[in-house]
């Protein structure tokens, strides 16, 4: 029996009248690596994380981690008895303590649980990992957002949790800071044997970090599974506007030394990309933005500067964020792709559901 996280939660929020919210989820996942909970704001992902932590007093259901029951009929451990580390969205350091004081707050309490003789080394390992040695004597008010979040993550690790919960730990940071933290998160995944449940609405983060994804919408799980497989089935909205796109699971199959290209193979088709020293046989995730896909219906599709063309079938046409634009969902074999084209073109080309078209892919990027 592998180590599992097994959860079922029902939680109702009564918000004065109109938009009552109900979270109703059930899932079992292997308790390793990073499990992403993904959804737009208001889908209930934070509520789910809080329920796992025991912070939602009204959440009913059950939760067990590696057969240890935290919540079930008759059992409901308070938060301070659940072996979690929690990283909140905004850096939630205690303002009255220095960074060191904040870390010490955690170590003091874990020490009370059991005398740990490897404490010094563990402490130093985390300080080194998060690179916060220099920050220790400072108060939270003297730290930048990224620095605070690093200290908060270190603090959550120092409590030696069996499960690390992260609620959009990067959401409050600017793009540069995000890039600063992501490598730390990857190192935690690789160097610590602790499963992480990671809540986010950012596909980029999830593609970079997560192994497993649980997709939430209106309080219900719409899909879950391996990140690329699951994401490639769905249209997703990126962090910035016009960032709708899709992810393909592919394998590097050929090098073209002359033109410095490589081919990524998916569903038996080849996608040519710039050669960045990827190895043959390497599994990659390829992100293709909807704005980088154009469509044509004629036969002379080869006479363009665009390198990658695929025969595709239209399976949905929806209005995009702006009325001038349409989002066309395409199927290439079993893979899904999106094209963002003008409404006028849709009309000129007489695009309809089920029609066969050429999809021209202007650019694509390898994520991992």
């Amino acid at each position: 029996m592998p180590k599992m996280i097994s959860a079922k939660f029902i939680l109702e929020h009564k918000t004065n009248g109109s938009n009552d919210f109900k979270l109703d989820v059930e899932f079992d996942v292997s308790s390793k690596g990073i499990i992403a909970i993904f959804g737009s704001s208001g889908c209930g992902k934070t509520s789910l994380l809080r329920a796992i932590a025991g912070l939602e007093k009204n959440a009913t259901g059950r939760f067990s981690l590696n057969k240890k029951v935290w919540q079930d009929n008759g059992t409901n451990l308070p938060t301070y008895k659940r072996s979690i580390g929690y990283v909140f969205q905004e850096a939630s350091l205690f303002e009255h303590l220095t960074a060191y004081g904040n870390l010490n707050y955690a170590t003091k309490r874990v020490k009370n649980l059991s005398r740990l003789d490897d404490h010094e080394t563990y402490f130093q390992q985390i300080i080194d990992l998060m690179q916060i040695e220099d920050l220790l004597p400072k108060y939270p008010a003297q730290l930048s957002g990224g620095e605070r979040q690093r200290v908060a993550i270190a603090r959550a690790l120092l409590i030696r949790p069996d499960l690390l919960l992260m609620d959009e730990p990067l959401a409050a940071l600017d793009t540069a800071r995000k890039h600063e933290i992501i490598p730390f998160l990857l190192r935690i995944r690789n160097e610590f044997d602790v499963p992480i449940i990671y809540v986010s609405h950012s596909v980029d983060e999830i593609i970079k970090l997560a192994d497993h994804i649980i997709m939430l919408k209106d309080g219900k799980i719409t899909d879950q599974g391996d990140v690329a497989t699951t994401l490639s089935k769905h249209q997703y909205i990126g962090e910035e506007q016009n960032q709708t796109g899709a992810v393909l699971n592919a394998t590097i199959s050929k090098h073209d030394k002359m033109w410095h290209l490589i081919s990524a193979e998916f569903d038996g088709r080849l996608l040519w990309l710039s050669d960045n020293q990827e190895k043959i046989g390497q599994k990659v995730r390829v992100k293709i933005m909807a704005k980088d896909v154009s469509l044509s219906v004629g036969q002379n599709h080869q006479e363009t500067s665009i390198l990658n063309h695929f025969r595709a079938k239209i399976c949905a046409i929806t209005t995009d964020t702006h009325p001038s634009m349409k989002l066309v969902k395409l199927k290439i074999g079993d893979s899904v792709l999106f094209a963002r084209i003008s409404a006028k073109s849709t009309n000129i080309l007489n695009l309809e559901l089920g029609m066969s078209v050429w999809a021209h892919i202007k650019s694509a990027s390898i994520l991992s």
Binding site: A53, G54, L55, P78, T79, Y80, K81, I84, G85, Y86, F88, S92, F94, E95, H96, Y105, A106, R109, V110, N112, L113, R155, A156, I159, L165
Partner: protein, 229 residues
């Protein structure tokens, strides 16, 4: 010495009373303020109103009811005699009891404000770091809400020192037992001992000014100041 023995007695008694009341109110008021800051119960509004009543009620109303309640035939009187305690009326402990009631909002409101300003997040963080509820209170709430506690202490103390109407009505003006400074000043005025009244009044004025000054200096240092009046 500008103060007579009776004046000094009154000053000492006042300080003793205010210290005792402040201590008790911090003890009682903290859980009340905590509950009020956390609850979503429908009882919050009516209970908040009850605890805030002394802000609005004339001291004579409180004094009048307390006198009736404390009397041997009154509800509190019955209770004290049932437990074999001395009657609260015309006694130091009666004043302590009464002062706790009328100074309650001055302690509860700054605390409640401080707790509400702090919010739940620090507690959730502490809980996620294995702090038990008592641990959370001592290691997070107390230090984070220290300005609220400071304000509550100062206001509770100062208001107890300053109260007059209730004390006059239920104290019985007994030297060393219930004759606090405000009553002593009143006595001086009534007895046409105006210079004595001046000395004590000036002392009270100075005291009140220093208290408020320290409060405002502290308030300038800390952004969150707890009084909601």
């Amino acid at each position: 010495m500008i103060f007579s023995d009776a004046d000094l007695n009154a000053i000492w008694l006042t300080l003793k009373l205010a210290t005792m009341v402040t201590f008790l109110l911090l003890l009682i008021g903290t859980p009340i303020a905590w509950w009020l800051s956390q609850t979503r119960s429908w009882l919050k509004a009516p209970l908040s109103a009850i605890f805030a009543l002394p802000l609005i009620l004339p001291p004579t109303v409180i004094g009048f009811y307390l006198l009736i309640a404390f009397a041997p035939e009154g509800p509190v009187g019955h209770l004290t005699s049932f437990f074999g305690l001395d009657s609260l009326v015309f006694s130091f402990w009666g004043l302590v009891f009464a002062s706790c009631i009328y100074s309650m909002p001055f302690v509860v409101q700054p605390l409640q404000n401080a707790f509400e300003t702090m919010g739940n997040r620090p507690l959730e963080v502490a809980a996620s770091l294995r702090a038990t509820p008592i641990d959370q209170f001592l290691s997070v709430v107390l230090p984070l809400c220290r300005s609220g506690f400071f304000t509550a202490t100062i206001l509770g103390f100062a208001h107890t020192v300053g109260e007059f109407g209730v004390v006059l009505m239920i104290g019985g003006n007994i030297e060393g037992e219930t004759r606090v400074v405000s009553v002593q000043i009143y006595d001086h005025v009534e007895a046409l001992e105006y210079s004595q009244a001046h000395y004590l009044s000036a002392a009270m004025l100075l005291f009140a000014f220093i208290i408020l000054l320290s409060l405002y200096i502290f308030q300038n240092k800390k952004t969150s100041f707890g009084v909601r009046l």
